[in-house]
């Protein structure tokens, strides 16, 4: 078992016994579900919309070279500097380079999961820059020196009281625990930063090939400010964010909002196609777009799992996953949590170290049902399990399943097994729940069903 797997089990144990935290998560997600169902019903045909979204992303990903080239060329024509990064380190070096070349002193950032993925903030801080997260949830977890809890709702796990205490100790400003008052504290602090930042760093939700534009979806307006005020704007995004046409957004923007946040449309959906153009009265002098590979081309090369790259990072699969609900985002201990994280992390960071995320699922399929682009998420977890076993089977498990086969393929041995189980039951009652109990993983919290004396096959045989 990898050390990540050990830590995962330990953290899962801790969170599942924290009833208060589980309740906080459940309440947050319950409200999401009600809103999502309402807006999904407003669609005239949600299921066909999903099919259209799935086919559009199929086209985007399977014709990626053409689309990416068009995207980059159209951006460049209007003065954007496009950079290509094969690795996480290359990407963060490029961005550090830009920041240094521009003589920046302060950096403001809007939400970007890709930046988490490459540990960008750490790289910038290492060379002496302060990076301020402007999204309220990210701002909060940054003050706590914590990773985001959920890809769309970073501070879902915290109560207002905890946030009040945080603001009091970190900012010296927390008039009460009222969410509005706390939000206004953050607004005040961050406005100063917007006005003085030299560099604004953003992520992107979509990259439009046809018009050479990035698209950013948000509710707060912090990305709009990050893209408006600083003299230099840098956008980091994965190569899989491509959509072929601008008009595709007419489908994707409402679907992203509905599936991700239970909203008909998110507050600000903004397209950016370049630095400040001639005739425009403000905007960044320089606009840089950094395209990131970081193992995405490896996932692309697996035709069975390629559609995991269709993901639009809406978070719907996290919201419906019963495992996520009970263990929370931090337990995954990696950038992308929930079902999509369990599917792609082995590709991004190594199968053997991260296969436990694919094992930690009951394969209920709620994720696949919720995914707006129809990624077959839970089947991919099965594929990850098969791939992990092919590469490195466990001799013990292999032996166990071979034994299982011998029993199941020989009716007499199966009959013997059943009878033995019935006979040994009283013995088991003695060791039950003790360290000697072979099924302690079950009996610690659950009773075993009684083994009946006569099985179904006994009954069937007798009636003949």
């Amino acid at each position: 078992m990898s050390s990540y797997a050990t830590k995962f089990s330990r953290d899962a144990r801790r969170v599942t016994s924290d009833r208060r935290l589980r309740q906080t998560i459940r309440t947050a997600l319950h409200n999401y579900e009600i809103a999502r169902d309402r807006h999904q019903t407003a669609f005239r045909d949600w299921q066909t919309a999903r099919q259209a979204a799935a086919e559009t992303k199929w086209e985007a990903i399977n014709l990626l070279p053409q689309h990416l080239a068009e995207f980059a060329d159209k951006l460049a024509v209007r003065g954007t500097k496009v950079h290509w990064a094969s690795t996480a380190k290359q990407a963060s070096d490029i961005i550090v380079g830009i920041v240094q070349a521009r003589g920046a002193r302060s950096i403001i950032k809007s939400k970007a999961m890709t930046a988490e993925e490459i540990h960008l903030n750490g790289a910038l801080e290492n060379v002496g820059y302060e990076v301020v997260e402007s999204d309220l949830g990210e701002f909060i977890v940054q003050l706590r020196h914590e990773a985001p809890f959920h890809i769309v709702f970073p501070s879902m796990h915290l109560t207002r009281g905890e946030i009040k205490d945080l603001f009091q100790s970190a900012l010296g400003d927390a008039p009460s625990d009222d969410p509005e008052a706390l939000t206004m504290v953050a607004r005040r602090v961050l406005r100063k930063k917007y006005l003085t930042a030299d560099v604004g760093i953003t992520g992107a939700n979509f990259a439009i090939a046809e018009t050479g534009m990035i698209s950013i979806t948000e509710n707060e307006g912090n990305a709009r400010l990050t893209a408006a005020l600083p003299k230099t704007m840098v956008t980091l995004l994965g190569i899989e964010k491509i959509l072929p046409r601008m008009a595709d957004l007419a489908l994707f923007l409402p679907m992203l909002a509905t599936a991700g946040a239970g909203q008909p449309m998110t507050g600000y959906n903004t397209l950016y196609g370049g630095p400040r153009q001639y005739g425009e009265c403000d905007g960044p002098e320089e606009f840089h777009v950094v395209l990131l590979d970081n193992h995405r081309t490896e996932l692309l090369a697996d035709p069975q799992q390629r559609d995991a790259l269709h993901c639009i990072r809406c978070g719907a699969c996290l919201n419906v996953c019963p495992i996520f609900r009970n263990i929370g985002g931090h337990t995954y201990n990696t950038t992308y949590s929930g079902p999509i994280g369990s599917v792609i992390t082995p590709h991004l960071r190594g199968l053997q170290d991260w296969k436990h995320l694919s094992a930690a699922s009951s394969l209920c399929g709620a994720c696949t049902e919720a995914c707006p682009v129809k990624i077959n998420l839970h089947h991919h977890l099965l594929h990850n399990r098969r791939n992990a076993v092919k590469l490195k089977p466990s001799a013990r498990e292999q032996f166990g399943y071979d034994m299982f086969t011998s029993v199941m393929n020989h009716p007499f041995v199966w009959w013997l097994g059943k009878k033995t189980g019935w006979l040994l039951q009283p013995l088991h009652n003695i060791v039950k729940r003790s360290p000697l109990d072979p099924v302690r993983a079950w009996t610690k919290t659950r009773d075993l069903p009684p083994v009946p004396r006569h099985s179904f096959k006994d009954w069937w045989r007798k009636r003949k």
């Binding site: 970073p154 707060e220 600000y268 403000d282």
Partner: protein, 226 residues
């Protein structure tokens, strides 16, 4: 070989293995090409005419806690703006040059920052309201579509705590597909560097999923339509 060539090369190599297209549900008809071109058939319904769209836009605006006022003349629009000034106690405002702002904004009689002349961002930050035109109003979502070219730049509509949009009736379109078609017609290949779909005032649910308005962008959004 540039990094671009490296990455595109790896992609081409990866795509040599063919992945199956997503299979539709049993018995479902094939989709139009491109697939998202049929969006209108699946997105929420929008009604058939201006009256339906105005009603839908108003209903959406109310749910979003944005204010929407349909007026019948420039005079009424000026009156509405003055009433807002008094109700909200605006001391200074910001706007840009354009047919509607030029005709309407002077009535306020308060210091006005014009973002299309060289402006100081701290002065803009101190303004109580930013007044802009827009490219379209979208009934389906209750959104305002505006651009950096026709709404006074990028900051005007997002920095001041109140954003007022001066719109014309003929700018009301039914849905998102129509809005994207309009962008093509209006701008062709020469799109502005920023196009934003604004749907309600700034909001957040990051603290216990409780809705709070005015997180960073404007706390209030008012759309006046003549």
């Amino acid at each position: 070989m540039s990094e671009r060539d490296n990455i595109l090369g790896r992609i081409r190599e990866a795509l040599k293995a063919k992945a199956p297209r997503p299979s539709p549900r049993d018995g479902a008809a094939p989709l139009p090409q491109p697939p998202a071109g049929g969006a209108r058939q699946w997105l929420p319904p929008v009604g058939r005419n201006f009256k339906d769209w105005v009603e839908l836009f108003g209903k959406n605006a109310a749910e979003l806690k944005a204010d929407f006022l349909l007026v019948s003349s420039s005079d009424e629009m000026r009156q509405a703006l003055v009433s807002l000034r008094d109700a909200e106690r605006w001391k200074s405002a910001a706007c840009h040059s354009g047919l509607l702002p030029d005709a309407i904004c002077p009535v306020l009689g308060i210091p006005m920052v014009h973002t299309d002349k060289h402006y100081d961002v701290h002065m803009l930050e101190a303004c109580d309201v930013g007044i802009t035109e827009c490219d379209a109003l979208i009934a389906q979502t209750g959104s305002v579509m505006l651009s950096s070219r026709r709404a006074g730049g990028r900051a005007l509509s997002i920095l001041p705590p109140h954003h007022v949009v001066l719109a014309r009736r003929d700018q009301l379109v039914a849905d998102l597909p129509a809005a994207f078609e309009l962008l093509k017609t209006e701008y062709g290949d020469n799109l502005p560097s920023m196009i934003s779909f604004i749907t309600g005032p700034s909001r957040t649910g990051d603290i216990e999923r409780i809705l709070v308005l005015g997180a960073h962008g404007p706390k209030k959004l008012t759309v006046l339509c003549v």
